[in-house]
């Protein structure tokens, strides 16, 4: 799960503030998300700044909705089977 501010790009120090995990751990997760095309990281001075890639996120949401619908349908069949 990723939490990013709706206000826009956030520096790594602001992003990690309030989390009980290390900056390194969050950066690692952000890199995975970056590889997946969900966020973009840039450097401003010495600090990295992260933002959501909105266009790609819309794609991803559609994809998750599609898989979600498939699960609804599959679980409907399971329900029909065990309740009959």
């Amino acid at each position: 799960m990723l939490r990013l501010s709706g206000e826009g790009p956030l520096s790594i120090s602001k992003l990690t503030a309030g989390f009980p995990i290390t900056r390194q751990a969050i950066t690692k997760h952000l890199r995975v998300m970056e590889d997946a095309g969900l966020v973009r990281g840039t450097f401003q001075g010495r600090e990295s700044v992260w933002q959501l890639d909105q266009r790609r996120l819309a794609d991803v949401r559609r994809h998750l909705q599609m898989i979600s619908s498939q699960w609804d349908e599959t679980l409907g069949r399971l329900k029909a089977l065990v309740e009959r």
Binding site: M1, L2, R3, L4, S5, G6, V32, M33, D35, A36, G37, L38, L52, R56, L57, D59, V60, R61, R62, H63, L64, M66, I67, S68, S69, Q70, W71, D72, E73, T74, L75, G76, R77, L78, K79, A80, L81, V82, E83
Partner: protein, 166 residues
């Protein structure tokens, strides 16, 4: 206001009015699994086992079965993760590995978990699939842009199914 963006995980809950043992068998006995999921496996589920299945079609819904059989030649692989009797069943797979020309074996998998919980009204089944963030965006986009008919058929199938149900 902070926005919570969940892109890695899907979670579903369904209340099943059936005994816990009945639900557990439907999930973990490959012959029962075949009936609702529509995929036939030759060997039983066992922790750590890599199983190759065939899409034979669900026996619960004839229309669904017909459409699923169109993909019968597509290899369907899962690796069983954990089996904790009447509580947890999980496996890993490639979430939309439907194109025969693509080798998915090197790609990250998602984890599918079924968790059973006894409630007064029946068994609450929670199904989650997680790990989507590790899958390249190109692959995620491909799920709905594939023009070979793979997923578009599946989407059509869902629409047909929902149309019948309503």
């Amino acid at each position: 206001m902070p926005t919570v963006v969940v892109t890695d995980r899907i979670e579903k809950k369904v209340l099943l009015r059936a005994p816990r043992a009945r639900v557990w068998n439907a999930l973990t006995d490959v012959r029962e699994f075949e009936q609702w999921f529509g995929v036939k496996f030759e060997r039983p589920f066992a922790p750590g086992a890599l199983l190759r299945g065939v899409l034979v079609g669900s026996t619960v819904d004839a229309e669904v079965a017909k459409a699923q059989r169109q993909h019968a030649s597509v290899p369907f692989e899962i690796t069983v993760d954990r089996i904790e009797p009447e509580f947890l069943f999980s496996f890993r797979w490639h979430p939309f590995a439907v194109e025969q020309t693509v080798d998915y074996s090197k790609e990250p998998t998602t984890l599918v978990e079924f968790v059973l919980e006894e409630t007064p009204g029946g068994v609450m089944l929670t199904v989650s699939e997680s790990g989507f963030d590790r899958i390249p965006l190109e692959r995620r986009s491909q799920a709905f842009t594939a023009n070979d008919g793979g997923w578009s058929i599946m989407i059509k199938l869902i629409e047909t199914y929902l149309g019948q149900a309503s």
